[in-house]
């Protein structure tokens, strides 16, 4: 596809008018605040916000030496790997099964895609309710089975809770893309293998799975981005970072330190670190994913 149009309109003012709204918003609400974040990250405010001093990289030094920040990093890493791994494997299993089915595949698809529409905050509340130690139905069942579920006290339970809620919400997205990927694999390849005597299991691992790898990689990146940046609402509604600070993911910490603890410099420094992470993830997404995924 051409990158340039051969035929154009001529006007020196019209294009500026056309892009003005987008540019105004981008400058006012994206670039200016991002610049502010960088600027504030090298400043230190006193507790009353009356005086501000330039402190250079001190905020970053504080971050690097802050055990709770490093812990939050590990929490986020574990959380996103768990979300991506569980979400991708469950969705792949369902997509492979749906791909096998001749009749009724559309029905299953319809029944599986709607969780995409559920807000992360609502997903958090739903799972919180099922697992609430006093009223939850699943926590009750677990107690009957001998597992004393209490995510308000046990940090493993709290982490499991937010992983489940996050995976549940993301399954439909992964499912749709896996199903599209599976359906784009030429049937002749599978048939040839079947004629050569390869069973379904063997065919999946030697033909389908390798051909699906671009989709898998794409979804892996998307899921990690999702777990990093779009799960704030799940954490905030389900655990508030608790029981102690074991489910404080990075975005939650930026919010908490900035708005609750009022450590603006520290929060801004964290924002800068997060920006760097987003930039790396976006570059990966566009450099390595874009060209390989085909629909």
């Amino acid at each position: 596809m051409a990158v340039e149009k051969r035929v154009r309109f001529k006007s020196w003012w019209l294009p500026w008018v056309l892009i003005a709204p987008q540019m105004a918003i981008v400058l006012a609400f994206f670039f200016w605040p991002a610049g502010q974040a960088v600027y504030q990250s090298v400043l230190q405010q006193d507790a009353f916000g009356t005086s501000t001093v330039f402190v250079g990289l001190e905020n970053f030094e504080r971050l690097v030496n802050d055990a709770s920040y490093l812990e939050s990093f590990w929490t986020t890493a574990f959380f996103s790997v768990a979300v991506a791994a569980c979400g991708l494997s469950i969705a792949l299993l369902l997509a492979v099964m749906a791909d096998r089915i001749v009749r009724g595949a559309m029905v299953y698809k319809t029944l599986l895609i709607w969780p995409y529409a559920v807000a992360p905050a609502v997903a958090g509340v739903l799972w919180l309710f099922m697992f609430a130690p006093s009223v939850g139905i699943v926590s009750f069942t677990l107690q009957q089975l001998g597992l004393e579920w209490n995510h308000l006290l046990n940090e493993k339970h709290a982490m499991a809770l937010i992983v489940m809620a996050a995976v549940w919400k993301q399954i439909s997205y992964n499912f749709l893309f896996f199903l599209a990927g599976l359906q784009s694999i030429p049937k002749s390849l599978i048939e040839a293998a079947a004629i050569d005597g390869a069973g379904p299991w063997r065919r999946f691992w030697t033909i389908v799975f390798p051909l699906l790898s671009p989709v898998t990689f794409f979804l892996l990146v998307i899921n990690i981005v999702y777990a990093f940046f779009e799960t704030f609402a799940i954490v905030d509604t389900a655990t508030q970072g608790g029981p102690g600070k074991e489910t404080v993911i990075l975005v939650y910490k930026v919010y908490y330190d900035g708005f609750k603890a009022l450590d603006l410099g520290g929060s801004a420094a964290q924002s800068v670190v997060l920006m760097a992470i987003v930039i790396v993830l976006t570059v990966i997404q566009f450099r390595y994913v874009e060209r390989k995924v085909q629909y």
């Binding site: 987008q22 605040p33 995409y116």
Partner: protein, 284 residues
């Protein structure tokens, strides 16, 4: 289907049915809880999985708010739903409108700094709200937009993905159409309105579904820019009902959750075709 294996087909159906049930279970529990009284939920162990008969009371209490059985007051969800609706539609329509205009400018005109403009829009992809929480809040507060519809929506209207999508689409529109329009004496805006926008209608519908859900489901942003109950969208209001109170009226919370889920779920299910197209296009 490559071969006939009834056992495998049966297994596929079983796995899928199990998957559908597990995926639907949280919502079923929510629905059941929303039809019971707060007392039934608090006292029955385990929670009954048969719908109760308190549905009308629970939902009307959720929708209109007021004093509860234990004297706690609750903001009406009806108002929150309205705010969510305004917010979702404004964001979806706004994103589509400004992206159509900027894509039109980028593709059909040559002007200085054109690629700079393009890159600036691209870079916004790397600056989600989550990474610049506090400074963005400050800007909105400096403009005096806290607790307003404008504050809730305008900062979220910029859209790199929509701009790219329309740019990609416009690049594929045959040049002959421009030439034909010119011969007929149509100016650029006429061409935009009568040719380009109608041609893009499928993409517009697809984007609308995705962006409506995006707008409806916003949580962090309203949390920052609204401080009063009467400007809280439902997705955020639901959190206020759970947190901070020693006693949670779970039936009302669950009714609110149902009300918060139904509109976007309906949009997805009724516009399924555009939804899938929108998802795939938006990630290209």
């Amino acid at each position: 289907m490559v071969e006939r294996r009834p056992a495998l087909a049966l297994l596929s159906h079983l796995v899928l049915i199990l998957g559908v049930l597990i995926v639907a279970f949280p919502v079923y529990v929510t629905f059941v809880a929303s039809t019971q009284t707060a007392q039934e939920i608090a006292q029955s162990r385990p929670l009954s999985l048969v719908p109760g008969d308190n549905m009308v009371e629970t939902y009307s209490r959720a929708l209109f708010g007021g004093k509860g059985e234990f004297g706690s007051t609750k903001a009406p969800v009806g108002r929150m739903l309205w705010i969510s609706l305004v917010m979702a539609i404004t964001i979806a329509v706004g994103k589509i409108a400004i992206s159509l205009l900027s894509a039109f400018a980028i593709v059909y005109f040559r002007f200085p700094f054109r690629s700079l403009v393009f890159w600036m829009v691209f870079i916004t992809l790397m600056l989600p709200v989550e990474v610049r929480i506090y400074p963005t809040y400050q800007v909105v507060s400096d403009f005096g937009l806290l607790n307003t519809y404008a504050g809730l929506t305008v900062p979220l209207i910029a859209s790199a993905t929509a701009t790219f999508l329309f740019r990609q689409f416009f690049l594929g529109v045959p040049d002959e159409l421009v030439e034909a329009a010119r011969i007929d004496g149509a100016g650029p805006m006429r061409f935009f309105k009568d040719v380009l926008v109608p041609l893009s209608s499928t993409s517009i519908a697809a984007l609308f579904v995705i962006q409506f859900i995006y707008g409806w489901n916003q949580y962090l942003w309203p949390l920052l820019v609204t401080t009063t109950d009467d400007m809280a969208p439902v997705v955020m209001g639901i959190k206020r009902m759970v947190a901070g109170e020693s006693y949670t009226e779970w039936n009302v919370v669950m009714a609110t959750a149902m009300l918060a889920m139904i509109p976007p779920a309906l949009v997805v299910l009724l516009m399924q075709r555009w939804f899938v197209k929108g998802l795939v296009d938006a990630e290209k």
